[in-house]
Subunit: 244 residues, 2 copies
């Protein structure tokens, strides 16, 4: 009878929440994005209907269609899990889907997930806040949309603290330039984490003025600020930890 908008976390199935794992197990239909980790998708029981609405290049499913699908499935009275990478409300467009469901009178719930904006730096040994280095973290999208509220990058350069840039690979050069113009040092430590918490994870460190030319592939999380110079742990999944 209810649609659950569920955060799937960054990819590692051990970083699903207990509630999310149970809802996936009990779902009748799972509607998921392209960015969900394979190991998480393998938790969907074979009997459960799966609908992939992944916004792949060249074959995008418009957001309105996804919202309409959720409304339709919800009205059928089925147990629907809408599985979204990371957290539904942090660049997950969960707010739009929730508003559509609310408007249609369909009962729904939000289940937060681990956001890659914090898990990706953690996997690289980077604490996004750290005493003496950072008392704030700004999580911001580098993806430009005409309808989105603009971000004042030059003001952001003056806030202090850590900047975590999501979906910023394409515009990384322009953003780095704006931040430097706003007052960040060209030498500001910068880390890139590609395919965070998956077996393909790659971590690299740069100066901010090297970011434009840095050879990195999406999806990547970009961390800018003094903490990006820290590395307080090796990358090891929870599964490996349990086995050790």
């Amino acid at each position: 009878m209810t649609v659950a908008l569920v955060g799937a976390g960054p990819g590692d199935p051990d970083l699903l929440t207990v509630g999310a794992a149970r809802l996936i197990e009990e779902a009748e239909v799972v509607v998921h994005d392209a960015l969900i980790g394979d190991e998480v998708l393998q938790l969907i029981p074979p009997r459960t209907e799966r609908i992939d609405v992944g916004k792949r290049p060249g074959r995008p499913v418009p957001q309105e269609n996804i919202s309409a699908l959720l409304v339709e499935l919800g009205r059928q009275g089925r147990r629907v899990v809408r599985l979204k990478g990371g957290d539904p409300f942090l660049f997950g467009r969960g707010g739009e889907e929730a508003l559509a469901l609310q408007k249609a009178g369909v009962d729904f719930r939000i289940v937060p997930g681990i956001t890659s904006s914090i898990a990706a730096p953690a996997a690289a040994g980077i604490p996004v806040t750290h005493r003496g280095a950072s008392a704030a973290v700004t999580i911001v999208t580098g993806h430009r949309q005409r309808t989105e509220e603009p971000v004042n990058w030059r003001a952001l350069a003056s806030v202090g603290g850590t900047i975590v840039l999501l979906m910023g690979v394409a515009n990384r050069g322009e953003i780095a330039e704006e931040l430097i113009t706003g007052g960040l040092a060209s030498s500001t430590p910068t880390a890139t984490i590609e395919s965070a918490t998956t077996p393909n994870e790659v971590v690299n460190r740069w100066r901010l003025d090297e970011l434009a030319a840095a050879p990195i592939c999406a999806p990547a999380v970009i961390v800018i600020g003094p903490v990006a110079a820290l590395s307080v742990c090796d990358v090891l999944s929870v599964s490996e930890l349990a086995a050790s």
Copy 2:
């Protein structure tokens, strides 16, 4: 043989990660803070040693002592879980504990948790980012520490997007004033979520210039920005959802 620095999430045991739940079950010693939810603490098996290092008013355990304790326990070769509210690396001082363990040569791992800075707004039906309203979220502490990097509140007012203030109850008036001086409208929507995701949760909405006089109790998460006017869901835990 390993110390795991584990995020316990905001309080609801369904918002623990699958990995965290397993590590708690398998731990020989759990070292925890005061802010861990009771239902999460109940998951610690009776046979497991529990050490409460909660920094309660009047009886604080200095951070250096906690780090030293973790080093000592790790050197004993026991399976240690250091359970921290929210996420270990987001105002959890996990970076300091990790550095102490690294320096001592004790093997350790970080397990991210759901941060209350996103889960608390979600429980109140507030998406921290939302197309057309916010393309960035800054998570910042309102707690003053001489050793912390200063936050430029006036610059933050110009960034655009959402501000999530943690540990900001005591200094909320001063911070609101700085933000208004920096250019935020006095009428900027502001939401306060006390005791988020617990049965005692209280959500209220204010104008930014009402925040100073607003009667709120710590611990509270304060959300400032256009999204704070949204309310896209009712508060219901995952447990209730599974039962419905």
